[in-house]
């Protein structure tokens, strides 16, 4: 198995990277670090796709001019796989959009609660709610009595 993993070392590296990203995503309490973990997972996907598109000894998928001007070599044994390049492009764009949106939400959370730690933010939310409820209850009791 180790031999095969070394043979496919790009894919193995991609899998390990995505594992690192997933661990970051699950274990970090800081939202910015969570977003970094998500980005590491994205990068792992790009690495995997790019590794799948590589074919040893072939040129990049841009047509090469033949011996005569105006003639182009269209033999498919010359060029590498063009599809993963397009897929990686899609992935990059979606990752940029998701990252920007997540960062904007994080900024709003920081503005409201003054912290990036989700446990702390949750605690503050709960405490605020509890104190508000207690206050309203006390006021109602006062009003009744």
């Amino acid at each position: 198995m180790l031999e095969k993993l070394i043979l496919n070392h790009y894919e193995a590296a991609a899998v390990i990277l995505s594992g690192i990203g997933l661990t970051n995503l699950l274990l970090q309490r800081n939202l910015i670090k969570k977003i970094i973990g998500l980005n590491i997972m994205d990068t792992a996907v790009y690495l995997f796709l790019a590794a799948k598109g590589y074919v040893a000894g072939r040129a990049a998928p841009i047509l090469i001019e033949g011996e005569k001007a105006g003639e182009w070599i269209t033999n498919s044994a010359v060029y590498a796989n063009p599809v993963p390049a397009g897929l990686v492009l899609t992935g990059i764009v979606v990752s940029v959009s998701v990252t920007a949106f997540a960062l904007a939400l994080t900024l709003k959370l920081y503005e409201s609660y003054g912290t990036l730690n989700i446990d702390e933010a949750l605690m503050k939310m709960t405490l605020q709610q509890e104190e508000l409820e207690a206050k309203i209850e006390a006021q109602e009791e006062e009003l009744i009595s």
């Binding site: 198995m1 095969k4 993993l5 043979l7 496919n8 070392h9 790009y10 894919e11 899998v15 390990i16 995505s18 594992g19 997933l22 661990t23 699950l26 274990l27 799948k52 598109g53 074919v55 040893a56 072939r58 998928p61 841009i62 105006g70 182009w72 269209t74 033999n75 498919s76 044994a77 060029y79 796989n81 063009p82 599809v83 993963p84 390049a85 397009g86 492009l89 899609t90 990059i92 764009v93 979606v94 940029v96 959009s97 998701v98 920007a100 904007a104 900024l107 920081y110 503005e111 609660y113 003054g114 446990d119 605690m123 503050k124 405490l127 206050k135 006390a138 006021q139 006062e142 009003l143």
Partner: protein, 333 residues
């Protein structure tokens, strides 16, 4: 204290019900009601942010809700999950066909078709450009739309507080006697402030900005002939805009690129993209003769719609990436 709360409650009740004049024993407290502990200001400027109380309350809260055990359990389970997933995926990777072999199942007849007839059918020298902007053009349209939607939602989230503050300042200047000013929320968080009069940065920017702009335009316009295209060229163009904003201030960029310009160019580019590609797909699917010439491979004016579509995508990407930077650092485009 009780009296005060009672008075506040009564005035609030009256305000809600709309019961005319306030009661006579109404007392307006001089001090605002006590803040929650985490918003309390530090006692003096050397004390750090009331760390002890916050920590205490945090621990207390964790105790009450039984979260210590939960978080231990959670970390254990998540580490286990990650290990299991990674080992499963590694076992799968070991079964994959060897890296870079041309007999891999990924190099099938689809790829052969794209490479052998892509040049003739799309007129683009760069097969990837022909792939993403001709065969799969609606996929790329969706990408541009996703990017534009992300920019608009970030604008909604981060631009709103800024705009409210500006409205309040305008109201302050008018005849309102500071009523709105009291009601406005805390000012939006500014992440950092740059000095915008750096001589070295300005010198470097004035030298390198035209070159970066030109490089971005070359990458966009040669998208169908060489590696690159709308997305990478747009990213290069946006770095030029960001450099300009950092060296000369956002006001300089605002003189030619503001929120209005951004929305107008992006939606116009998306519209042109959708209409032209819709026409091309419609004619292609119904076997109608299309008026768009393919051109000869290798010329700048070739590839049918790929060149204008690349320019559209480049405009959207440049505006969006600069917009992200401006929104996160300034709060407005």
């Amino acid at each position: 204290m009780n009296e005060e709360i009672k008075a506040i409650w009564r005035s609030f009740y009256d305000w809600v019900v709309g019961n005319g004049p306030r009661p006579e024993n109404e007392v307006i407290p001089d001090e605002p009601p006590p803040d929650l502990p985490f918003t309390r200001k530090p006692k003096d400027k050397f004390s750090r942010f009331h760390e002890a109380t916050l920590k205490e309350r945090y621990n207390q809260w964790m105790e009450i809700h039984g979260l210590h055990m939960f978080s231990a359990l959670y970390s254990g389970i998540s580490v286990l999950t990650c290990i299991v997933i990674v080992s499963l995926l590694l076992a799968t990777v070991a079964e994959l066909p060897p890296f870079g072999d041309e007999r891999n199942p990924a190099n099938n007849e689809v790829i052969r078709r794209y490479v052998e007839r892509g040049g003739k059918e799309t007129g683009a020298q760069n097969i990837v450009a022909g792939l993403i902007l001709d065969y799969r053009a609606f996929d790329t349209f969706g990408e541009s739309a996703v990017l534009f939607t992300a920019a608009v939602s970030v604008l909604m989230l981060l631009g709103a507080s800024r705009r409210n503050n500006a409205d309040d300042e305008q109201a302050m200047k008018g005849n309102d006697s500071g009523k709105n000013f009291m009601q406005r929320g805390p000012p939006s968080v500014r992440l950092h402030t740059f000095r915008r009069d750096d001589a070295i940065l300005r010198g470097v920017a004035s030298l390198s900005m035209p070159v970066i702009m030109m490089m971005g335009c070359v990458v966009v316009i040669n998208g169908h002939l060489s590696p690159g295209g709308g997305f990478s060229g747009g990213a290069i163009l946006s770095t030029a805009l960001i450099l300009c904003a950092n060296a000369y201030g956002f006001e300089r960029v605002h003189s030619f690129f503001n929120e209005r310009t951004f929305i107008t160019t992006s939606s116009t580019a998306l519209m042109i993209y959708a209409l032209s590609k819709g026409y091309s797909f419609f004619t292609g699917a119904n076997d109608i003769h299309s008026v768009i010439p393919k051109g000869t491979i290798g010329n700048i004016l070739s590839g049918g719609l790929i060149l204008p579509l690349n320019i559209c995508v480049g405009l959207i990407v440049a505006g969006t990436l600069y917009g992200f930077y401006a929104l996160f650092s300034e709060g407005e485009i």
